[in-house]
Amino acid sequence: MNTNRRHALKTGSALSLLTLVAAAGWLKPGEAAAADAWNKSAFETHSLDETMKALGGSSPVPSNDIVFFSTPDIAENGAVVPVGITSKVPQTESIAILIEKNPNMLAAVFDIPPGTDPSLTTRIKMAQTSNVYALVKANGKYYVTSKEIKVTLGGCGG
């Protein structure tokens, strides 16, 4: 038997398996961030620069295309602060919420696949009055907007 030919067949089938896997969407780079292991380092940062580094991006550009909605100016209870964020930046890939004066800055990262509206609401905890950043990744670039939310009762008290 021609062993070279066997070998070629084997590598061939391995390659096509890889293509199949890629086609099934397991290796799609867009989904990788949230499908993969939890990004521990990103959730342990204390500044916007550090967070950006951990997320693998450069410093974000301020943008008026990111809008907070249903978000209070003054939150009575820092343990439950409703936040709504809409991004009008074309090709929005992800939306992250960062709270400047929390023990760790990053609160959440949402991946927005095509077909999903780049708009969502959730609830976050805030230790004290702070700027809240909405960080949007679109087409590989980062954009940011911020809003100050005053907290009258912190979310991390005993």
Binding site: A42, N102, C156, G158
Partner: protein, 103 residues
């Protein structure tokens, strides 16, 4: 096993609006109990929402998401009767999956 999620999935125009309320302590690891001992962190780290096996929202969370987390969002392409499936995994590797039917 944690309590089930409350999921609402409603067709609004050509979009499906999903609202989910998860039942989870979301302990930050910053608080101390009455004896002054730190209460260990316990929070949801990953969330995935799928519709017909297609991911419509994926998220990574830190402990700064509120206790009993709430999320709402919209995606296009849902039809009445379709299922929306939501899975979360916490830092103890516990997980829970619940389904809702689009109404």
């Amino acid at each position: 096993m944690a309590d089930p999620m409350k999921i609402r999935a409603n067709l609004v125009g050509d979009s499906t609006e999903v609202k989910v309320l998860m039942s989870h302590e979301m302990e930050t690891g910053q608080r101390k109990d009455a004896q002054g001992k730190t209460i260990p962190a316990w929070f949801i780290q990953k969330v995935k929402v799928t519709h017909n096996d297609k991911v419509v929202l994926a998220a990574q969370w830190g402990p700064a998401v509120s206790k009993n987390p709430f999320v709402s969002f919209k995606f296009k392409g849902g039809a009445k009767g379709d299922k929306v499936k939501i899975t979360w995994v916490d830092n103890h590797d516990d997980s829970r999956t619940d389904e809702a039917t689009i109404a």
